[in-house]
């Protein structure tokens, strides 16, 4: 279910957020394909996601 809508900080495209969105989750801007990080949920706000670092993994 999509209930929230905010904009991409890079291209200003509207980016929908799922109803159960959580802080620090990652989504992709439908306009510019930038990876966005959810930085707040009330209201939903996005920042450009930090780059994947070299030692990231599992």
């Amino acid at each position: 279910m999509t209930v929230a809508l905010s904009t991409c900080p890079d291209c200003t495209e509207a980016v929908p957020a799922a109803g159960d969105v959580r802080v620090a989750s990652i989504t992709v801007c439908p306009g510019c394909q930038a990876e966005l990080e959810v930085i707040s949920i009330d209201p939903v706000e996005y920042a450009l996601a930090p780059d994947i670092e070299e030692d990231f993994g599992e």
């Binding site: 620090a24 996601a49 599992e58």
Partner: protein, 283 residues
């Protein structure tokens, strides 16, 4: 007290773990690793019931685990397991010490020695970063020209870890590898990870299907888990064309989205069960 869940990002795995905690009414705090500040020696009393570590960066994970342990917290997985599993050289040392079948592995610490070591392994050989994941920077080296070029390129990478050379024989496996999830002393599920590419990692597009937990697979996964210190682990294995199973790596902060897509096993719920029972036993 609340359970701390250390995170870097809220991936599917973390969402599933949070949902499992919420279903049980377990109080938890999501602690973003970017917010961690520890004043050494300030706090002697544990602040959390325990710490479930889901940090994505190996370096941050090693130090965060150590810092929480220093303040009396039990961290899952413990720092010795994180340190061993996050470094392929240390993992291979642990596996070989325990007599667990793995691909033939050679380590060199200078470029010239690395080329010579690849020659000794034979072609094709596989060059992997000692620290890293998701199939990144894995190289299949087919001849000496490629070996020399690759080693020269690796010298230009910034991190000194790229000039420690972790080299393995290439295993002519079927179009798949196997991942077994081990929680404590129980392998709970396994999947095949299939790809047309020789790198069969879901982060590189491999797809997953359920894999039966045979006696051999269970035995080897448990031995591999014990060799690196035990805990909540994902043991990755390859099959030789003869069918022989080889352990390639053991992951300490495993991703299980591929497994969740292929099996009915609720790994997140089992992780919560294992975490709580481990903390209870330690209390």
């Amino acid at each position: 007290m609340t359970l701390a869940v250390l995170t870097t990002r809220t991936r599917l795995e973390e969402r599933l773990i949070f949902a499992a905690l919420e279903r049980r009414g377990i109080p938890y705090a999501q602690v973003d690793d970017r917010s961690l500040i520890h004043h050494l020696g300030d706090r002697e009393v544990p602040r959390y019931l325990g710490v479930l570590n889901r940090i994505m960066s190996h370096t941050r994970s090693v130090y965060a685990t150590r810092l929480f342990e220093a303040t009396g917290h039990q961290v899952l997985n413990p720092s010795n397991v994180v340190e061993t599993c996050g470094d392929k050289i240390l993992t291979s040392l642990a596996l070989t010490k325990a007599g667990i079948p793995t691909p033939r592995t050679v380590v060199a610490v200078t470029p010239d020695a690395a080329v010579e070591a690849i020659e000794q392994l034979g072609y094709p050989a596989v060059v992997k970063p000692a620290v890293g994941s998701w199939g990144r920077l894995l190289s299949k080296v087919n001849d000496r020209d490629a070996a020399e070029t690759l080693i020269e390129h690796k010298q230009s990478l910034r991190s000194p870890i790229h000039n420690v050379y972790y080299l393995q024989e290439y295993i002519d496996k079927p179009d798949r590898d196997i991942r077994v999830i081990v929680l404590g002393d129980e392998p709970v599920a396994a999947v095949y990870r299939r790809s047309d590419h020789w790198i069969t990692n879901t982060a590189r597009g491999a797809t997953t299907t359920s894999c039966p937990l045979t006696d051999d697979l269970v035995s080897l996964a448990l031995r591999a888990s014990a060799a690196v210190g035990g805990g909540m682990l994902a043991v990755d294995l390859l099959e030789r064309s003869t069918g022989e199973l080889l352990v390639t790596e053991v992951n300490h902060t495993m991703e299980f989205h591929g497994l969740a897509a292929a099996t009915d096993v609720d790994v997140a719920d089992l992780i919560v069960t294992h975490t709580l029972s481990t903390l209870e036993r330690a209390a």
